[in-house]
């Protein structure tokens, strides 16, 4: 792997940039691998990378039905944070943030992780109570999160409207300074390049059509558009399409897939210094390094795989954004798009073993998958390599839905009395 640096950039500039090697070779599938990862998003590529890098398994293929990073990795609003309430959540997301920090150097690929801070707005007494609970729990868990008064929030994010007469007044905010954003595509590309350099095959445009199991019930490999590929360990990391893949192995999952939209504005000079989230009015916003406001919308209400969202969702989202940031009303929407997110009943992921021997799953991240990318990748790799979950992902079993030990962050922020 050619090392990327200002120096190599300069050297290549002298050659008219004609000597750069491929970032990852386009592999043809071999007949079998030790491990197959289905889904070349950030999570799947991350898993392949860590399998090779940390767990010594390099005979790995990542199989993707489209192009790598073309699913939710490239369709989200890139928010990274870990100020979750429950120990289980705080641990898994903070593990991810630990890995985000230093990822550019580890991969030798600048993923532009920007610790610009994530500000979560409280608009009611109930929000305040709920955020305080988060902050206290985070403090005792060693997770960075602090309370800001409305004035402090405004100082941190000047475009914010904190007038007390607003319909949804800002009554304060929780700030995680260590949180922020990263450049979404580069995460997938960086993992792909680093994984490929360690010997991982990345096979694009190769849809999985079946999961083959032996008489003992264990997996034997996958049927694909390009033929059968054998493996005794298969990790599925396919976001919105997880149900479809699990069904190929005869498993039914507690998942539903919903359309989720996002949009960007035209680029303008810097105005938003941080990420702002408001769960009460469903508004999520930051400004990209190019100057575009990046805005996340809510999901449509029905199951869909169409990657096509509705106009009224965008209307509501922008009404919310302009309620909190009245100065943005003259900004212009440049592009909107839809993704498909898979949601579990407790809105926490399922990451671990499945009832089928040799089949591992990483799914159900809902609208929050991007922030977990390196963590999910590493934990999936660990689980596959050891055939047992890492303590961090041990609670994220499929079994929890049977016993009732759910990890329900959203319920914990229960709607007010």
């Amino acid at each position: 792997m050619v090392k990327y640096s200002a120096g190599s950039l300069f050297a290549n500039a002298l050659h008219g940039h004609k000597k750069w090697p491929k970032q990852w070779p386009d592999a043809a599938p071999k007949t079998s691998y030790d491990v197959i990862i289905v889904g070349a998003g950030g999570h799947g590529l991350g898993a392949a990378y860590y399998l090779a890098k940390k767990y010594g398994i390099t005979n790995v293929a990542v199989i993707e039905k489209g192009w790598l990073g073309g699913g939710n990795t490239g369709r989200n609003t890139t928010i990274i944070r870990s100020n979750y309430l429950y120990d289980e959540s705080a641990r898994i997301y903070d593990h991810a943030v630990d890995l985000w920090d230093g990822l550019s150097q580890e991969l030798n690929y600048n993923v532009m992780f920007s610790k610009r801070g994530v500000l979560m707005l409280a608009h009611s007494v109930h929000d305040v109570q709920s955020f305080q609970r988060h902050i206290h729990a985070n403090r005792l868990n060693g997770v960075d999160n602090q309370w800001l008064s409305p004035e402090e929030a405004k100082a941190f994010c000047p475009p914010l409207d904190i007038s007390p007469g607003a319909r949804y007044p800002v009554m304060g905010a929780a700030l995680q300074r260590r949180a922020g954003t990263a450049r979404h595509d580069t995460v997938a590309w960086g993992y792909a390049r680093a994984a490929a350099a360690l010997g991982v095959d990345i096979i694009q445009n190769c849809a999985v059509t079946g999961i083959k199991r032996g008489t003992d019930g264990a997996v034997r490999g996958v049927e694909t558009e390009r033929g059968f590929i054998g493996a005794n360990k298969i990790g599925v990391s396919a976001a919105g399409n997880s149900s479809v893949l699990m069904q190929m192995a005869g498993l039914r999952f507690p998942l539903e897939s919903y359309p989720l939209q996002a949009l960007v504005s035209e680029p303008v000079k810097p105005v938003m210094p941080c990420v702002v989230m408001s769960n009460s009015v469903h508004a999520y916003i930051s400004q990209s390094d190019k100057g575009e406001l990046v805005i996340g919308a809510g999901t449509d209400q029905y199951i869909s795989y169409s990657q096509r969202g509705a106009l009224h969702i965008l209307e509501h989202t922008l009404a919310s954004i302009c309620e909190i940031f009245p100065i943005f009303k003259r900004m212009r929407m440049l592009r909107s798009w839809g993704g498909v997110v898979d949601v579990t009943p407790d809105r926490s992921p399922i990451l671990g073993k499945t009832p089928v021997p040799g089949l591992y799953v990483n799914c159900g991240w809902g609208t929050g998958g991007f922030k977990a990318t390196p963590g999910a990748g590493n934990l999936l790799a660990y689980t596959i390599a050891r055939d047992e979950p890492h303590p961090i992902n041990a609670p994220y079993t499929l079994e929890r839905f049977k016993g009732g030990r759910l990890i329900d962050e959203a319920a914990a922020a229960a709607v007010a009395h």
Binding site: N241, S243, V244, R252, F253, P254, L255, E256, S257, Q301, Y302, I303, S304, Y305, S306, R308, A310, L311, H312, D342, T344, P345, F401, K402, G403
Partner: protein, 100 residues
């Protein structure tokens, strides 16, 4: 915004009059106490989440206030048919017929 034919109103109405109500034909067991944890979890949480022809419920909450069933293609988001609550799940043949 989808256009949804309410089988009670017998009219196509805009989606914002409706509320999605999850997968259809998941019948609540008559005696839940007789079920083991696995079967109960299956009833509570396990869903087909079909990519393709999906059976689902909608609630005409801002209309006639009736829940009803629908068959919809989740790839195109097109409704294939809607039918009243209590009617049996249409057979594949019927769906194929309507699709044509």
């Amino acid at each position: 915004m989808l256009l949804i034919k309410c089988p009670y109103c017998e009219e196509e109405r805009p989606e914002i009059e409706f509320s999605y109500a999850g997968e259809a034909h998941i019948v609540r067991p008559t005696d839940p106490s007789k079920m083991d944890d696995t079967a109960w979890a299956e009833y509570l949480f396990i869903r087909d989440n079909t990519r393709g022809v999906h059976y689902e419920r909608w609630y005409h909450i801002h209309g006639c206030a009736r829940f009803f069933n629908a068959v919809r293609d989740t790839i195109s988001d097109k409704f294939i048919m809607t039918y009243k609550m209590g009617l049996p799940r249409p057979a594949d043949v019927e769906i194929a017929k309507v699709k044509e």
